[in-house]
Symmetry: C5
């Protein structure tokens, strides 16, 4: 995706300004944090208020710099990513994803972010916290399915990110484990065809938010993603989704500085 937002003037200069700040953000081991169990993630969907746009462009560029400075200061503990939601998710401008080893670290970062000039123009429309775990149902799957599940998604950056919060009904949770295993086997089989084009990550949210799971997807092939979702809706486990979406959060993936530039330029 070539960034060609209406007003590009000023972005170039502004990126130079950001350069220094980002180079400081090298503390925490991102890959480990993003693959380990026990990582706490907080997802916040933000909407910008109207007064933001009344700030002059230099003030907005300075405010964006303030954000990357804050992110840099917390980079020893917290990994921050952004998804540009504006135009694709209603009443939303950006998704901030925060990962660390403790929910309190996520809060510290988000409080500091909220205290920046930019943050004071943002309202949080949705907030979900969740934790990563070792896969629950994989041990009960047949061996060939386990092998297939090790297929790696195609490497390289993806164009789109989709977050779908999921809440199971009481019948799901009260059902015996072997019934859930059987349904998850069907669910897993329905997703195998999409392992390469669609990257998936599961977070557990029971007790931390009003949903049980945060399912997070990255893909460059939205048609394959649409097929995946339809396939997942066709298995019996779907009868136990008390909530699937509500909201579906969809946007495009870019480096933090490019997303800030959309709002600063």
């Amino acid at each position: 995706m070539r960034l060609s937002w209406g007003c590009l003037a000023g972005i170039a200069i502004w990126l130079v300004v950001l350069g220094t700040a980002r180079s400081a953000a090298a503390g925490v081991d991102r890959d480990k944090l993003m693959s380990d169990p026990g990582t706490y993630a907080t997802f916040v969907v933000y909407e910008l208020d109207r007064d933001w746009w009344k700030l002059a462009r230099p003030a907005r560029a300075k405010a964006a710099k303030e954000v990357t400075d804050v992110f840099g200061k917390h980079a020893d503990k917290v990994v921050v990513d952004m998804v540009l939601l504006r135009g694709l998710t209603d009443r939303a401008d950006l998704l901030v994803r925060v990962h660390s080893t403790a929910l309190a670290h996520n809060q510290e970062l988000l409080v500091a972010f909220g205290a920046t000039t930019f943050g004071r123009h943002l309202a949080s429309r949705h907030t979900w916290s969740a934790v990563t775990k070792k896969p629950n149902y994989v041990p009960s799957l047949p061996d060939d399915m386990k092998a297939t599940l090790k297929t790696q998604p195609e490497p390289g950056p993806k164009a789109y990110a989709i977050l779908i919060p999921v809440k199971k009904d009481a019948a799901w949770w009260v059902a015996p484990q072997d019934q859930r295993n059987a349904m998850m086997k069907e669910h897993t089989a329905a997703s195998l065809a999409s392992l390469v084009p669609v990257k998936r990550k599961l977070y557990h949210a029971s007790g931390f938010a009003d949903v049980d799971f945060i399912t997070y997807f990255e893909t460059s092939k939205l048609d394959e993603f649409n097929n995946l979702i339809i396939n997942l809706m066709k298995v019996r486990e779907n009868r136990h989704n008390a909530q699937f979406g509500g909201p579906v959060v969809i946007g495009t993936i870019h480096p933090v500085d490019k997303i800030l530039a959309v709002f600063a330029s």
Copy 2:
């Protein structure tokens, strides 16, 4: 429909101003885009804020010109249409429909639109993205029904557009394909009588929004449209509509410049 909005003064001059901008909007093959599978559409229902009306008329006319300039710049990739909702859909003023071959193009256009003076006075109340596909159920229909389905809607511009988002329940998706085929056959039969007066277009939204389908209608005969909807509610497939509308979005169809003139004059 003759446009006789309260204050027509100034529209004429303003249309002249718009003339040049629109002539630049000839890049993408609109007909192909609107009939091909694999086209991505984004629908945004916008509401104007009150401060817009505090702008002086020349400032509003200039702001409208800015919008058509932005649309012109993206005309090589994106087709933009508008429906005037004001007065007919609550808390809404206009529907923007964007079509292109990639969701990212739609977002680029909508971000640029949102950054215009006019766009900064708009709040998005609903946003749905979706993709066009080859018809799913037609292959299983009897031959005479297939032949009838090729009936063309009556040509020429239509007065009204109606958008109805639809979400199917889990029972629908989990049912075997032949049961869905049988129900879609009834659904199709119920709609045959309206093929001429009501133009229909179907978009697939699962995973891109909180609904499964965007159904979009254009007609000049609202009584026939009302009959169509009632006929569709009388078939068994209707039992599987977890959401049908919510909201129903209804408005009148006009060229973009005429709709902008309503807000600029």
Copy 3:
């Protein structure tokens, strides 16, 4: 009902000003429009913003005059009525009912109304469009019931108006016609006792709004109206009301100029 709103000063003079405007509103045949099938009605529940009350009284009186001027200009096509909701329906101040032979006419009037000084201080909280039809179920009723249904409501102005939007469930629409006929016969029998004290009008909204029917009542005897609603809830057809109210809109009936005076004085 004697109008004795807190601040009556200024109403008298203002009514004189309104006199001329109203005398121009004699174009369309109101009685025919209100009794014919094929009439399109749009109902808008409006709430005034707080800034309205910051306008000086002369400015508000001038703004009210502007409204009656706009209504006068559209009087050849559109009939406009108002119900005063303030104090009786939450977050609402007035209901505007518009009738004409085409939905586009209703929109033209409402866009022009919204562009007045008064209209710019109003937010539409609910909007429903609907069409009148010949009664659906009357042909299947027994002859004595048909005869009783011709009973005229008592003549003269009524004090109260109540609008109740109704949405039927899928089971209703999918049921065979004779089952619906049988249930409507019970429904009709339950309403016969209220034909004189309560005037009723039914509008069909499927496809135009998120409900199937707009039921509109006028009465001076609210106790009889309460009995009518309870009687209607006691018949089997009530099981198929997916929505009945939500909101119930209730207010008092006055001439447009008297209602405007409440806000202008």
Copy 4:
């Protein structure tokens, strides 16, 4: 409950100012109105806006005086009470209860109240109108229960008021009268133990609001009230409560002038 709100300064003087106005409020026969069938009540839950607090204290005291003047002017027709909700019911500051023999009188008072300086800073978050009737089910109760029901609540002012709106499901209304009688007998038996500590009043709202009943309670013993509610939830009739609360409105009872003083001082 001793009133010890943070800033008591100024209340004393202000109460003197109110004295005259209240003495004029002696028109209507309050006891008769509050016990007769056919009395119309309107309940409005109001929230104060933030700008109110920006008014200087003398301006707020003057505004409170304006309110009692308005109440005094309508005292020949309308009884007005207030409950202080601030701190106990979310997004709410006060409940206004209005009783008269006609809904139009209630509206006149509420429109006049809304036009005061204080009223213009209030937003109505919930509005319910309802009418009192002779008890529906008492005639079918056994004689000893009828006798017990005549028990008077303990006299004297109560500390707390609770309003719970109730909507019955279709199955309730469609059930034969003797089934409803049997369930109401259980309901009544479950409430007998609370007749002394909890004062109750029932209003009928079908067709006037989106609920069927307004149940209104006054008590100084919240533990007994909690027991009463739990007992009522344990009888079969509770299965037919489509809505019970939503919202529960809870606050403390004080004379109008003391409640106004909370906002004026």
Copy 5:
């Protein structure tokens, strides 16, 4: 959790200022109040408005001092705690928990708090009042379970607080007591493993709010808490949760002065 919020400058000085006020807050017997039955608690989830941040830092520090002064004045009757929600619960900044022997005391404190400069910038997004009782189901539990239930949670301050409001369905309340006892036995067994790491407190809210229970948790081990919630969802009693969460309120525990410092610095 080390407090390292972006802007720490000024906190130190400000804490000194707070010192005096807090030393006055020693009236009521906190431990007794927090463990006795018959204690009334009010929980308010507040969101700060944007104008707060426009105040200069000294004005904000002074406003925070005003809050602790108010708390000090009510310390003979009311215990006040705070949880920092900002960043973890959407559209929320802090939870205020108030405990006393009478709901009216809670209201007095909350009204006084709302009248402070800080309070006037807060909107209450959720308010629940509830009362503590002796455990309902413990008497029917087997002796070994009763013994286990006396296990004390690990001492010392906890990092996180979670509030989950719960509403039971009608089937729960109408069920015979022995069925509820049997389900509560399962519920209790499912929670035994978490008695040490997760501190729990139950409040009864029927009739005081739109839920039946407020369940309040404190823990430093969120993974154990997540397991507890999942275990509780797996017992039959979960089928009777008409509401569990909605919202889940989650935040970090700090002394009042430290939380105020987050907003004042």
